[in-house]
Amino acid sequence: MTNPIWLKVSDATVAFGSSHVLSGVSFELEKGEIGCLLGSSGCGKTTLLRSIAGFEKLTSGEIVINQQVLTGSGKHVPAEQRNVGMVFQDYALFPHLSVLKNVMFGLRENAQSKDKALGLIERVGLAGKENHMPHQLSGGEQQRVALARALAPEPVLLLLDEPFSNLDVSLRERLGHEVREILKETSTTALMVTHDQMEAFAIADKVGVMNGGQIEQWASAYDIYHCPNSLFVAGFVGQGSLIEGTLLDCGTVETVLGIFKQEESNCCAPSAGCDVGKKVKVLLRPDDIIHDDDSLLQGVVRKKAFRGAEFMYSLALPNGEHITCMVPSHHDHPVGEPIGIRMEVDHVVVFDH
């Protein structure tokens, strides 16, 4: 059963003169879903977020939340009338107001709203700090206040702009999970922007990979990783290598490492077509390649990087191609040594040359 479509962005375009910051972006988010726009800086993800918030105007296109047109066909509801919450990269807490006053900012001042704010402050784990001033809080705490403040007016949609980028890595992961929990608990529909794929994977139900003002792929995190629909997405998300292959049949491809066949259930390979004999590129993720000392299939270690639990080996194949594979770190092989590998490719992903 699917929920109703809550946020619908159609053909969103932002152009300054001839340069397009956004060109024809479309995607949908169901009620209660958490979406994430992933991309490097300058890809337009922040502009898209700010357009949904109402801070920027679209040149063309439409933004609809809960069947209400907020932007589109000449209409632009100002930000303050949208009830779209936002958590900013620098948190943007009001420096002159206490934690409680910050959280109550978007509410009418009365007894219920105070109780509500106190409840939210407790929910984000800041009970007892409601009278602190923002500058007395750590970065993580400020971020929680920003979240509580944005959630207080029960926004129809919550936007998060790189919410964890100013925090250190360990805190980032923990807060990410907490935020997801809170959003799910309050059944808040949310859209986040980040350049950190681990963050996107940890929090989002749907991930949109953005590039050059467009969404390359809008899918679940799992599908984005295992079934990227373009070379850009394949390269941007996760690690991997591309090797030469030849199509034998629809969904079957022959490479120097053997013949891989696409299982029916593992849908997603993009349309390389069924031209027998066509040359293609095959995407191999490090987890598709298993180290096996008994295997006859071998690659020579060219580079190695110690990652703690595992080694990331870059292997040279007999035909000169390179692949990367992840190996438990007690298998310590010196550079130059051939090691055995076994292929376990569940998702066959091929691209045109």
Binding site: A79, E80, F88, D90, A92, H96, F105
Partner: protein, 513 residues
Amino acid sequence: MLALGSVLVSLFHLDTETLSHLLKHLLPTALGNTLLLVVGTAILSAVVGVTLAWLTAVCDFPLRRFFSWALLLPMAIPGYVMAFAFVGLFEFSGPVQTLLRGWFGSSSWFPNVYSFGGVTLVMSLVLYPYVYLIARNAFQTQGRRSIEAGQSLGLSPVKSFFRVSLPMARPWIVGGVLLVVMETLADFGTVATFNYDTLTTLIYKSWFSLFSLPAALQVASVLLLAVVIIMVIERRSRAAQRYSQSQHASLSSSRFVLSGKRRWAAVAFCALVFLFAFVMPSLRLLTWAMPNLAMDLNSHFFGFVWSTLSLATFAMLLIALLALLLAYGARINQSLPTKFAVRTSTLGYALPGTVLAIGLFAPISLVNHWLQDAGIPASWLQGTFLIMLMAYGVRFMAVAYSPIENNYLRITPSIDDAAHSLGLTGLQVLKRVHLPIVRRGILTAMVLVFVDVMKELPITLMTRPFGFNTLAVRVFELSSEGLWQRAALPALAIMLVGLIPVMLLIKKTDKND
């Protein structure tokens, strides 16, 4: 803008008769005097200011902490007050020469106070704090590492001053000296007290004695040209400051500890400057004012106080409000026209008060003529509060704008966005977010404008409505008639209020010490 325009226009409107008289006799002298004074004051205040700054910022000697803030106190004394206190002390019939005559029988060897040397000395005593403040800040923020590197290569403190600190602080020192130059060019009260003819006194005389607006405008345009040149140089030197900025701040741990003769020389120098620039004039004023206190503290005096306070309060509220609107406008609308508006409206601080007053008069008197031709009596336009407030507004907008703008810089753009996304409209954001945050800046702006308007002499003198007197005008009138004892009380009142912003400044600089 208007003032600037009319001065420029006047360049092409020659009042040949008065002008030829002016050009032949007065203008060359005034121009020469002005140049001499500017050069002399620049050099003297640079030497005094930089030396004091380096001593208190980099070295350690007895009473250093006291001197480091006390040496800023002379900023509270307006030039025209310092001038008559100084003249009163050192002129022929003053206490110093009388005392000397008592000892030596004659004091004819004593230099004449009413001289280039006298004005330059007083002007430097009033203005050195600008150089001191800026240079000290530069020395304090200079990377300690570079001085340590110099020491490790064998430089003595004095050599380190000339080879490391001074070259590194040069852009700031130049900035400070240029400020002094601007103030010297703009000064009216000090030179008038010394009867030293400069461009500003010539503007005043052309207007009030020769009744020639065009002649005054002509002189004003010469002065304006000088100011513009200095401003261009100032902009350049500011660009250089950016290159040599350093983020290392604290020096407190390792200062040069001066020993033996040197330390006492340092103490003596600081004490001498402090004595001449603050203690002596203050004491002189006090000893003048005390005997007549009962007589002078009358309703007449309180009338001046009242008119000064009400004028300054009104100007303060008006200018702070305008500055706030300007800052708010610049924030919500970052287009080129707004930036231009901010730029031009904050340029007025560079215009000497005399130039400004004359510049505003010209268009007003033109309107006057038109109205009179049309049969409407319009002489009320001249010498009204309206012109006065306009002139103050032009002159002090920058003073009010910069603290407010500084506070505004603390509000990141996303804070505005946050407020909007929580449902606030533009004016609500101003009220609930901007005002509480920039409150301190507005207060600072109000204090600064209040004190500046209170101290301001030439604008008030030249644009006030007939019969309207402020304390500053009163001081000037009494002291130019030689009634120093009677001028002392209003001068002290101005000084006391003037101490407020100096105290604020000291509190602020103390934090980085």
